[in-house]
């Protein structure tokens, strides 16, 4: 389990190394075919910011070699906004959200129909963390319905046990998205006031449990803005490396959710700038040439346009982050989206930029 590795990492030493190193061979590292972990840390360092242009160019080449000029699309579907956790940065926070909604079967089916009509084939089903109200049985039912409309179904829900994940995998779920939010235990404790999420170890080992249970794909990410991003990304990369070695058949992806707008009484502790976002995405691309990188509609349309092809391979489009959002139910959303272009508009943009949009990249018989 990853928690064993995590507990042995000297995080303050790691943080100090990345932030103070002054290595002069960054250009040589950028040209390498395969990077070591140390190489990767150097690319994350402030010293590498002078080489950002070379990193972007190299990331572009690598992404094209492994993925071609293609962008895959998916859409999130929020099934519920009920959440028992108190996470300071989140609008689903149990304390802030009294507008609870769990989609009924009828509402769920209408969401599926609307999204299928738009052309989506790959969907991510989401809920808050409230297993008593929205538990595994609710999810099994949702997946069994979603299968009739979509070829690929992933989940972003409360962390489950291996046994629960097995049931979901057998029902037809391909992938799991689970963000650690931050690997910085102090910050993790401070921003997660209560609820099941308080248990950092349970969350750290969630990808292990998903792969053990038979999930084919797991998506990781940290919430950019919570802790020092250099340290957090270094630990995220360690997590990815560990999973690649341990579950050699597993596919991994990395997402880049960045805190921009937060509840009124919370200030973003370590905001991440656009240029820093570019540095971390390109550094990760050089280190992990063959894994999918996902960018959601949290980011602005202009930033998303610019990040096309420098590492990002998968995007959402026309997203709603509230349950029933596609049928315009007046429910509370998890966060505000910045890029509200529809799938149709996104397809046109992607094509204009010389990329081929991919809607179906999986078949349920696999």
């Amino acid at each position: 389990m990853f928690s064993n590795i995590y507990s042995k990492v000297d995080i303050s030493h790691l943080e100090q190394f990345i932030n103070t190193t002054s290595h002069h061979n960054i250009s040589e590292i950028i040209k390498k075919d395969r990077l070591s972990y140390l190489d990767f840390l150097l690319l994350l360092s402030p010293a590498a910011t002078n080489h950002l242009e070379e990193m972007v160019q190299r990331a572009q080449n690598i992404t094209t070699r492994y993925f071609g000029k293609t962008i895959s699309f998916y859409t999130p579907i929020y099934l519920s906004n009920v959440c028992k956790n108190k996470c300071l940065y989140c609008d689903f926070n149990a304390q802030l959200n009294s507008n609870h909604k769990i989609l009924t079967k009828k509402e769920m089916l209408l969401e599926f129909k609307l999204l299928q009509k738009k052309g989506f084939s790959n969907v991510l089903l989401l809920t808050g963390d409230a297993p008593k109200q929205v538990g595994v049985n609710y999810l099994l039912n949702a997946v069994s319905n979603a299968k009739k409309y979509f070829s690929e179904i992933s989940l972003e829900v409360f962390p489950c046990t291996v046994k629960e994940y097995k049931k979901l995998a057998e029902e037809g779920v391909t992938g799991l998205t689970i963000y650690q939010e931050t690997y910085d235990k102090n910050v993790y404790d401070k921003v997660h006031l209560s609820g099941d999420k308080k248990d950092i170890i349970w969350r750290l080992n969630t990808p292990d449990r998903a792969f053990i249970a038979g999930f084919k794909k797991v998506g990781l990410g940290i919430l950019l803005g919570l802790s020092d991003w250099r340290k957090d990304i270094a630990l995220l990369a360690k997590h990815v490396k560990y999973l690649l070695k341990t579950y050699w058949k597993g596919e991994l992806s990395i997402s880049f959710p960045r805190l921009t707008k937060v509840p009124a009484n919370f200030a973003i502790p370590n905001p991440v700038s656009d240029i820093e976002l570019v540095q971390l995405i390109t550094a990760l691309r050089l280190f992990f040439p063959e894994i999918n990188f996902v960018l959601s509609t949290r980011e602005s349309s202009s930033l998303r346009n610019h990040l096309l092809g420098i590492g990002i391979t998968t995007m959402s489009a026309g997203s709603k982050t509230n349950p029933g959002g596609y049928q315009n139910l007046p429910t509370k959303a998890q966060f505000n989206i910045k890029d509200d272009r529809s799938l149709k508009e996104m397809i046109a943009t992607v094509k204009n930029s010389g990329f081929d949009p991919i809607l179906k990249n999986w078949d349920p018989v696999i």
Binding site: T64, R65, Y66, F67, G68, K69, T70, Q116, G119, S121, S151, K216, L244, W248, K249, G250, E251, E290, K351, G354, F355, D356, P357, I358, L359, K360, N361, W362, D363, V365, I366
Partner: protein, 258 residues
């Protein structure tokens, strides 16, 4: 004089098979297929979207012009590959199948054991099976014994553009095979393709090198020319390499002996 590539009793003039992934647009792909003058085009079944015509790769490949060769890309086990093959047949796409079983998603190297298992079942069910394999001469022979239509050893890992790195083992496969040998995967330059044909490979399959070139159409044309040159050289009989200069008639001394 016609020099056909024969696979499962079908004759092809072109010895260049193209993949359809990674192109910057479907239109771009169509042009590259035409420029390559290919006759066999492989399509990932997981990408075939029968529900959405604008996303359906098959709508951009004219079945009158090309033999559509569905592949099982994405399959990690024999069972998954078999299900994909049956799906291709049931939906009327083809009963030819390019067997790709790659359990590890990073290098996408083929799993010989699972490939053999799936090939055995699919051949029995009447499929024309073209398995993607490591350059493993024994596996190639076992597959041939089962009744596959070709063997498709890799030149280097898929998408790597690293070129023809498995040359020694592929030479043995070519020497021993009685089905066509198609060098598949990793060929990064037209010269890699020419080399494979020169050595006696029956055909090559190219995708990434064409699809991700700055100008896929021109690169397709370049591969076409390279494949023709390589084949011609093979037919002409390559002169062997010499380590030192030699008289043009090495037996001249005989006439000088009184």
């Amino acid at each position: 004089m016609t020099d056909f590539l024969k696979i499962a009793k079908k004759k092809f003039s072109s010895r260049l098979i193209l993949g359809t992934g990674k192109f910057p647009s479907k239109e771009n792909m169509e042009k590259a297929l035409a420029a390559a003058e290919t006759e066999i085009v492989t399509v990932a079944l997981r990408r075939v979207n029968l529900d959405n015509p604008s996303d359906n790769l098959l709508n951009f490949i004219d079945p009158q012009k090309y033999l559509i060769l569905p592949n099982t890309s994405g399959a990690k086990t024999a069972e998954e590959a078999i299900r994909l093959a049956r799906l291709a047949q049931a939906s009327g796409i083809s009963s030819w199948i390019k067997l790709e079983i790659t359990p590890e998603p990073r290098y996408l190297l083929p799993d010989g054991e699972e490939t053999l298992k799936a090939a055995e079942i699919l051949v029995k069910e009447g499929f024309i099976v073209l398995p993607y394999i490591n350059a493993d001469p024994i596996l190639a022979r076992k597959l041939e014994d089962i009744g596959v239509a070709t063997v498709m050893p890799l030149g280097s890992p898929i998408g790597s553009n690293k070129g023809f790195k498995t040359i020694e083992a592929v030479n043995i496969i070519i020497e021993q095979a009685s089905v066509p040998v198609v060098v598949d995967a990793g060929l990064g330059r037209p010269s890699d393709a020419a080399l494979a044909l020169e050595l006696g490979a029956d055909a090559v399959l190219v995708n990434t090198a064409i699809a991700t070139a700055n100008n896929p159409t021109k690169m397709a044309e370049a591969f076409k020319a390279a494949v023709l040159a390589g084949r011609l050289a093979f037919k002409a009989g390559l002169a062997t390499e010499k380590t030192s200069a030699a008289a043009s008639s090495p037996l001249e001394w005989l006439s000088k002996i009184q």
